[in-house]
Amino acid sequence: MDRRQLTALLGYLSFGGLTAFWRVVKGFAQPLETDAHVERAVGAIAEVMFPGDGLPGARELGLHRQVLAHADVQPMLASGLAFLDRYAASAGAADFAALDEARRLAALDAAFASGADGIQSFVMALRLHLGTAYYSSPAIKSAFAYTGPLQPDGFADFRDRPA
């Protein structure tokens, strides 16, 4: 991922409207054939990144499979997952998915802090796509106030303290 692509991932705002954020998030869907290891590993990432904590989690919603279809994630998968598996091996586990929740989180933190080429971008891209899919999911949105369609009703209570 080059600098401009990364910037687009990190930036989302424009004066006059929302633009790059949703354009980036929605712009990459492509089919990808993945092996069981990749799907299991990304599922494990989804499980700890967006666990639900009382609501359905990202893995439970099957969002890890959706994220694998993003073209900007695909080139980063091999090196990103290899980093996480190496971390797991150093902790005595077979691979990342075999770690418990606390050690998975520690592995993700280590990847995010890594200076290795593309590893931080890998974590940020998964966070962006998994988080977007998760918090756009009807099952999750319905648990939050004021997340319904903007029309046809608008917000009749816009002057009032939120209910």
């Binding site: 989302y12 409207g17 904590d53 106030a145 997340t147 009749a156 816009f158």
Partner: protein, 546 residues
């Protein structure tokens, strides 16, 4: 190449200026062909805000609705901690130490960029039109506020602008046609903060209906103005000026019709424009009068690509001014749910006059910026406002959703020699026309203004109770403007300007410009569309009498 019928006037560009010019001409009995490079949008089908994912939708892309441009390299950045763009959750926008030349926000289509604008309807501060005389910067407008005021009234009436009784220096000969919109809960919270630090805070004047008007429904405060207004209460040019022009029976509207060249005669008159067709061929369209209204990027591009037409002064493309902008978001201890209500419903004009900011020439204004950055919905909030992941992240999102407040500020951007639009030497469009290339560099005075805007935005948020800043975005390191100006400035002196006070080329007697490229200065943060429309109506009246 085929040739179409000759029209009284051919208007190129159906945005704020072109639509108003077309209406003004039709109302005065002229036949008008209104061309636009982009498509026609249907509010009932193109803006599906009834869908469950409406909050993640942006203004729709359709074939031809975005023009291509290129950019000169971005400016090297110094150290300005208050002006760095980014969020706690997603990090910096431009981490490379160079200003990110990202994009020029616009819509090509019938209605132009007004289709996705927020819909602020501002008159210029009268003093901001005389920057050279009073402050020694930019250039004077060759007309004053009084000359423009009747046309402001005409535009406001057609649009159905809702606004307050008074707006300080912007004196009025007639009230706004509609009463102001009530302030949202979030704006009321900000209003208490503004009062605490001595800022005025009043209802913004908005091109959104507060009552039914000319058969259009009033706003129902969904907040989705920038996504396209399916109800038609937002006063975009398609549902106001274009509709009114067509209703005269004298306006023919042609979308998907890019003009790629202007054909000039030997008698200081323009003969025709060449219009690209979907199959790649060209059509020659003749007319008696020609009005360019393609905006401050595409109008100079078209002139320069037409062998430098109307560039006797060498000013075409120079004096480019973009949006000087900052927006800051912070978390309030109590839920606000600022996405409810009309975006930018409140404004502070306290520092809008050109001499209002201490120590720097050029004004600015502050406003409730929820429209720009609150309406990304739950996902955008969760990823921007709360860093990290895991259970702690999930708990914070649940606790803080709806607690965001946003303040925006827009300020005067003065012209300088390093900011201009020219033709890209290599990149061309499908008709072989060179792309516009944008160069933009902020001067120290612009950065000083931005610093003041940032500090005051922080102070306003803090005084409103929102202490925890989680994101800030500014044009210091991120070039992504919507408001652009100045590249065919108007003036009295043909040696220093492109058009006269009525938008007419100093040389070419039937060539007129009716967009923000004619602005000699950019104002103290006013949204430009109403002024563009007022100028275009004035131009139309002049054409009729020419």
């Amino acid at each position: 190449m085929s040739e179409a019928t000759e029209w009284d006037a051919v208007v190129v560009g159906a945005g704020a200026g072109g639509a108003a010019a077309a209406y003004g001409l039709c109302r005065r009995g002229l036949s008008v062909l209104l061309l636009d490079a982009g498509p026609r949008f249907d509010p009932s089908t193109d803006y599906p805000l009834t869908d469950a994912d409406a909050d993640t939708r942006i203004f729709p892309e359709k074939p031809g609705s975005t023009g291509k441009v290129s950019f000169a390299p971005g400016q090297a950045l110094g150290d300005e901690p208050l002006l760095v763009s980014g969020s706690r959750g997603l990090g910096p926008v431009a981490p490379g130490g160079v200003r990110l030349m990202d994009r020029y926000h616009h819509v090509r289509g019938i209605g132009g960029t007004t289709l996705h604008f927020t819909g602020e309807a501002h008159r210029f501060h009268p003093d901001a039109m005389k920057m050279k005389t009073h402050f020694g910067v930019a250039a004077d407008w060759p007309l004053d506020y009084a000359a423009l005021e009747p046309y402001y009234v005409e535009a406001e009436e057609l649009i159905g602008v809702a606004g307050p009784e008074q707006q300080g220096a912007r004196w009025r000969s007639r009230k706004f046609p509609l009463p102001p919109h009530p302030l949202s809960y979030a704006s009321q919270t900000l209003g208490r903060g503004a009062k605490a630090i001595g800022l005025d805070w009043q209802a913004n004047s908005r091109a959104a209906l507060s009552r039914p008007w000319n058969g259009r429904l009033p706003c129902n405060y969904c907040g989705g103005c920038n996504k396209g207004c399916p109800r038609g209460d937002k006063g975009s040019a398609d549902v106001t000026f274009v509709a009114a022009a067509v209703a005269t029976g004298r306006c023919t509207v042609r979308p998907d019709s890019p003009v790629v060249r202007i054909e000039a005669g030997s008698d200081d008159r323009v003969k025709a424009v060449l219009v690209g067709r979907p199959d790649g061929s060209l059509e020659r369209v003749a007319g008696r009068q020609f009005v360019l209204a393609c905006g401050a990027i595409e109008t100079p591009r078209l002139l320069l690509a037409s062998d430098g037409l109307a560039n006797e002064s060498r000013e075409v493309g120079r004096n480019f001014m973009d949006t000087l902008f900052i927006a800051v978001g912070a978390l309030h201890p109590e839920a606000q749910h600022g996405r409810r209500g009309l975006p930018s419903d409140a404004i502070s004009w306290t520092y809008n006059a050109p001499d209002a900011i201490p120590g720097v020439v050029g004004g600015c204004r502050f406003y409730n910026a929820c429209g720009e950055i609150e309406l990304g919905g739950l996902a955008a909030f969760a990823l921007r406002a709360i860093p990290g992941w895991g259970r702690a992240h999930a708990q914070s999102v649940r606790q803080l959703w709806g607690h965001a407040l946003h303040v925006g500020a827009i300020g005067e951007r003065l012209p300088n020699p390093d900011s201009f639009v020219d033709l890209d030497p290599a990149a061309r469009d499908r008709f072989g026309m060179p792309l516009a290339r944008i160069a933009s560099a902020l001067a120290e005075s612009d950065v000083a203004r931005l610093r003041f805007m940032a500090k005051t935005s922080h102070a306003l948020l803090a005084a409103s109770g929102a202490q925890r800043i989680y994101e800030s975005y500014s044009s210091w390191d991120w070039f992504a403007p919507t408001h652009v100006f100045g590249t065919c400035r108007m003036g009295e002196d043909p040696a220093g300007s492109v058009v006269d006070a009525f938008g007419r080329s100093h040389r070419w007697r039937n060539l007129w410009i009716a967009d923000a490229s004619v602005f000699p200065s950019a104002g103290g943060g006013e949204a430009p569309s109403l002024t563009i429309q007022a100028l275009a109506l004035r131009t139309a009246e002049r054409i009729r009498s020419a």
